[in-house]
């Protein structure tokens, strides 16, 4: 269905899903909700429907969630006119049909220009402490402002150029006025709307979630073994944090696992980056400096080559993997970790060879495949890219 692989022991069709939902409601059992309810308690304000116990994401005070913003943001997200030559929208690299990523090794923007990083998924990005692989933006709003003026992505000459372009579209002029009471559109309005839409792109209800909730048969035996390995011998959970309060599989920290250490002279790159005092977002786009990772933001030596721990929900949908897309499959990622990453002077001390057997590696892959959410078809359908 829509090119999404759902691998689990049970395939849920729409009808069965509804029956289960009614069943849950009737019994009053705390099932994970299947739908993000469009509940509107007061006026237009919009509440995210989270499973019990999951902590709310942080939403900036100056951009509260409203239905109007969500709809406007969705429109903007899919609008190619946000790029200078009308060819690239957010959805180009964050495609709903590709797990809100793009299936490419490295992102490609206007005029086939190649960037420096693998496109991360937007799904559940609302729960990150920072955005981008190097954490150079804190909020989704801040993040949205960067690709639009990135010459290798959407290529607008400046934020004001984008604002002018949008303001000259009558449809948007009306919408912004209606939704945000904005006579003058600003970049913050635009970014705020996009961010609001992105905040609704959250997924739970994967076979793993049902297993954790007590349904023993929800995950295959192999996946269950994989879950034990994940917490034990494979040492994944310490960086890919999971608990009921924060079920997103990331510690939001930055680790050097040696991904792109091949033949780079990090010392001189680092010194160059530090001395120029250049903007992190510029450094992140340059061939050499981009591999410095978190260092371009903090300029701290311990952050050289360190990248943000990505989440793992729906990971089976967003190959290829790692910040440079250098690992094509989940199997190859597991093997990468099994070998102990790539040695380099800054390799995170938590990385070490794991000694996993073939069966154990397969179990880990099965586990990760059980993290694909059943919410996705609903999120994907009804979007017209």
């Amino acid at each position: 269905m829509l090119g999404i692989r759902i691998k689990s022991g049970i395939a849920f069709t729409g009808a069965i899903r509804n029956a289960v939902q009614i069943f849950c409601v009737v019994l009053g059992v705390a099932c994970f909700p299947h739908l993000v309810a469009f509940s509107q308690p007061k006026g237009d304000s919009f509440a995210l429907n989270l499973p019990p116990g999951v902590l709310e994401p942080i939403i900036p005070e100056d951009n509260p969630l409203t239905k109007g913003k969500v709809d406007l943001g969705k429109k903007l997200f899919f609008d190619k006119r946000l790029s200078v030559d009308d060819t690239v929208s957010c959805a180009t690299c964050h495609d709903p049909e590709k797990g809100f990523a793009d299936g490419k090794v490295i992102a490609v923007g206007i005029q086939d220009r190649k960037g420096t990083r693998n496109s991360p998924t937007v799904l559940n990005a609302a729960f990150f402490d920072t955005q981008f692989w190097d954490g150079r933006a804190i909020t989704l709003e801040e993040q949205a402002k960067q690709p639009v003026i990135n010459p290798k992505e959407m290529g607008m000459s400046s934020h004001s150029a984008l604002v002018e372009k949008i303001s000259n579209i009558p449809d948007y002029k009306t919408s912004f006025k209606a939704v945000l009471a904005a006579d003058q559109i600003t970049i913050d309005h635009i970014a705020g709307a996009i961010a609001s839409f992105e905040r609704t792109l959250i997924t739970f209800n994967a076979p793993f979630d049902r297993f954790i909730a007590g349904e023993k048969g929800a995950m295959s035996e192999s996946a269950q073994r994989g879950w034990q390995l994940f917490q034990g011998k494979a040492r994944c959970i310490t960086c890919h944090e999971f608990n009921r309060s924060y079920p997103f599989f990331t510690d939001n920290k930055f680790h050097n696992i040696g991904v792109a250490m091949k033949g780079k002279d990090f010392e001189s790159l680092a010194r160059k980056a530090a001395s120029r005092g250049a903007n992190p977002s510029v450094l992140a786009q340059e061939e050499g400096s981009a591999e410095l990772g978190r260092y371009v933001v903090t300029k701290e030596p311990k952050d050289i080559g360190a990248f943000k721990t990505s989440g793992l929900r729906n990971i089976a949908l967003t190959a290829p993997f790692l910040h440079d897309g250098s690992e094509p499959t989940l199997e190859s990622v597991v093997e990468f970790y099994n070998k102990g990453g790539i040695p380099n002077p800054n390799l995170d001390g938590g990385i070490r060879p794991l000694g996993l057997s073939e069966e154990e590696k397969n179990d880990l892959v099965a586990f990760m495949e059980s993290l694909t959410s059943d919410d996705l078809p609903r999120l994907v359908s009804g979007h017209n890219p």
Binding site: Q231, R235, I237, T238, E241, N243
Partner: protein
């Protein structure tokens, strides 16, 4: 425990009376004092609790006389401690001098204690204290478990890389068993001490986890807890 409140009131009033030599009168709630003059001129004062089940015979004090403050405090302390054993009828004799207090429980013969701290031992079993032999067995068995734990703690055999617990935790330093359960940042959820012990065996020591009922795990816990005896319980503390 609700007797405590009543008893406090009792005690305060009765102490006030003793110290100011007031005669016992019919107040709303009060302890009573009796004057009993044995024929051999050994004077005593008797303090009885409000429920009548506890009696303290204070030797060397005359009825009507103010008790010395020290003694009065001792009487009060003893009475408070005895009141915790609501069901029992206890008579205590505090001698004129010396530390030993004689207790008689439910009419049984007197036994002697030297420290109020011994009361639970004595009274929980209705006045039959534990024997010396029993106490030595407890200590020896406890010690054996702790020594087992000490040995495992100082042995690298639990792991495969030659690292033993005492390398990062000499004298069990920095183990903080009194802070468990807590959110363990390496495991990403709230866990018990034994979960962290197992994590250390699997991770820094690169060994195989112990089964939770493995005698070695139990012994390790015993040693670690004994090394931190007296620390305040603070589950969840980082």
């Amino acid at each position: 425990m609700k007797f405590i409140n009543i008893m406090f009131a009792c005690l305060f009033m009765s102490l006030a009376m003793f110290i100011h030599s007031a005669k016992a009168e019919d107040h709303a709630v009060s302890a009573t004092q009796q004057a009993v003059q044995p024929s051999d001129d050994k004077a005593v004062q008797i303090v009885t609790s409000c429920d009548g089940r506890k009696k303290i015979i204070v030797e060397g004090c005359r009825e009507g006389e103010a008790m010395p403050e020290q003694k009065a405090r001792k009487v009060a302390e003893l009475l408070m401690a005895l009141m915790e054993f609501c069901e029992l009828e206890i008579t205590a004799k505090i001698p004129k001098t010396g530390m030993a207090v004689q207790l008689s429980v439910n009419g049984e013969p007197y036994i002697t204690i030297t420290d109020i701290g011994e009361l639970p031992l004595v009274l929980v079993h209705g006045g039959k204290p534990h024997t010396e032999r029993e106490k030595r067995i407890w200590a020896a068995e406890m010690d054996r478990m702790i020594q087992e734990g000490y040995a495992v703690f100082h042995d690298s055999a639990l792991g495969t890389n030659g690292i033993s617990c005492d390398m990062c935790h000499p004298d069990a330093a920095n183990t903080h068993p009194e802070t468990y359960p807590k959110f363990q940042t390496q495991i990403k959820k709230a866990v018990l001490l034994r979960d962290m012990i197992n994590w250390c065996i699997e991770n820094p020591q690169e060994g195989k986890k112990l089964a939770e009922d493995d005698p070695r795990m139990k012994a390790l816990e015993a040693y670690i807890l004994s090394a931190r005896a007296g620390e305040k319980l603070e589950p969840g503390k980082h």
